[in-house]
């Protein structure tokens, strides 16, 4: 039941998470920060803007991104196979990338290509993480993982660390916010969206928060308090990282993912497979 509610209200919860994040980030910088409901104020304000666009395809792809992202979350929470949910996320990336590269703006195209770089960095790791969870729990089913008696985190410490460092890539946080890079390419794929169309992307990103932190939650197994702790820890850690690091080149990001994170996760999987 709770997963149905979470799926249907995902934009709402995602918005709250984003609001909390903005407050937390501000406090980390010794600022007061915006009110908690700020994302929703932004949402309503954007609703009220005059719609402008480059062309219909571009605007449409933004909306499809939102729908695909929501659907991917639905598959993650309501379906029973994690692997399928991972691959569903690619559809969202597809519409984002096709939309972003359909305009001639250099920032947008550059952002789209960097988005692809993000994808090759985190996609194999996600697959590896799901397989690692399978090795521990013996099932790809999210329900089985959430009713597993042990502590998956204890058996998968390296996978967890690798995933923790992948979250900035998925959520576009520093040091791996290369696709969005607000000071450099002004938001990358999202630059040409405005008003109601930008809203679709804006909310799509909130849903991504829920999507990513659900995966973190799975590391707690049936111990929901542990899962919740891990989520809070991951949340704070990612924000701390975001606040305290500068942006890396996209090559460094890909090298880091392929040279460090993936071998680390694979090492964990090998150890696990050997001793099980």
């Amino acid at each position: 039941m709770i997963n149905v509610i979470l799926t249907i209200l995902a934009p709402f919860f995602g918005g709250i998470v984003y609001g909390i994040e903005r407050v937390v980030k501000a406090r980390m910088q010794r600022r007061v920060g915006p009110p908690l409901m700020q994302p929703f104020y932004d949402f309503f304000k954007l609703m009220d803007k005059r719609p402008i666009m480059i062309h219909s395809l571009h605007a449409l792809m933004g909306i499809m991104y939102f729908i695909a992202e929501w659907f991917a979350l639905g598959v993650l929470l309501l379906g029973n196979d994690l692997l399928i949910a991972v691959f569903f996320h690619v559809i969202a990336v597809l519409s984002l990338v096709v939309g972003a590269s359909s305009v001639r703006s250099p920032y947008s195209v550059l952002g789209a290509l960097r988005e692809l770089m993000h994808m090759i960095s985190y996609e194999p790791l996600m697959v590896l993480m799901v397989v690692a969870l399978y090795l521990v729990v013996g099932s790809f089913d999210i329900k089985d993982i959430l009713s597993y008696d042990g502590y998956p985190i204890l058996k998968l410490p390296f996978v967890f660390i690798a995933f923790l460092l992948t979250i900035p890539m998925m959520l576009q946080k520093s040091p791996f916010d290369v696709a969005e890079a607000h000071q450099e390419i002004i938001g990358g794929p999202e630059i040409e969206y405005s008003g109601p169309f930008y809203e679709a992307l804006y909310t799509g990103k909130w849903i991504e928060y829920i999507y990513v932190f659900t995966f973190v939650f799975l590391f707690g197994g049936s111990h929901y308090w542990l899962g919740a702790l891990l989520v809070i820890f991951a949340f704070l850690f990612v924000n701390l990282l975001d606040n305290s690091t500068a942006r890396l080149d996209f090559r460094r990001m890909v090298k880091f993912a392929w040279g460090f994170l993936i071998p680390m996760a694979a090492f964990n999987v090998i150890l696990l497979a050997l001793f099980e």
Binding site: K45, R50, P51, I186
Partner: protein, 163 residues
């Protein structure tokens, strides 16, 4: 004034453009973002992107090179939008007035709603100006706004198609 318009004042997003000033005003704007003044308290963000911005914050006397750029940025912003001219230069040229290369202020290029005087204005003045801009902004509708001599100017602004 619908339901959504009530939330406008809670999330004004800013596009800041320097049209050739001395950067004094820009430093004040940056300090407004910093912890001491923290304008994100009011939901303000510096977006750097005209398509998602609501308030165009212009500093500088508008050099001849910047003229068309300023117009395009203005046109790329979605209505409702407000233009805030900040600093003495933006009010009519300031110390650059009647130089060969300036247009003597923002008002000659795009319609300005709020003026923030000072050289450079203090951050308090900036925030005060923003509050006033938000009030004006709330009165505005989604009607399309035009430049001065819109028909004539728009021809010079076209972006080339790559064919």
């Amino acid at each position: 004034m619908g339901f959504f318009s009530k939330f406008r004042k809670k999330s004004p997003w800013i596009l800041h453009y320097n049209t050739g000033g001395c950067n004094g005003c820009d430093i004040e704007i940056l300090s407004a973002l910093a912890p001491r003044y923290d304008i994100e308290r009011f939901g303000m963000l510096n977006r750097g992107n005209p398509k998602q911005a609501d308030i165009l914050l212009v500093t500088g006397p508008v050099t001849k090179n910047c003229k068309d750029v300023l117009r395009r940025l203005y046109l790329e912003m979605a209505e409702p939008k407000v233009v805030v001219a900040m600093g003495a230069c933006a009010h009519g040229g300031g110390i650059f007035r009647n130089f060969y290369h300036v247009e003597n202020g923002v008002n000659n290029i795009i319609p300005v709603d709020v003026w923030i005087p000072g050289c450079a204005p203090r951050v308090e003045a900036l925030i005060d100006g923003m509050v006033e801009a938000i009030e004006i902004w709330q009165q505005k509708s989604k009607e399309k706004e035009y430049l001065r001599d819109h028909e004539k100017v728009i021809k010079t602004l076209g972006v080339e198609d790559d064919g």
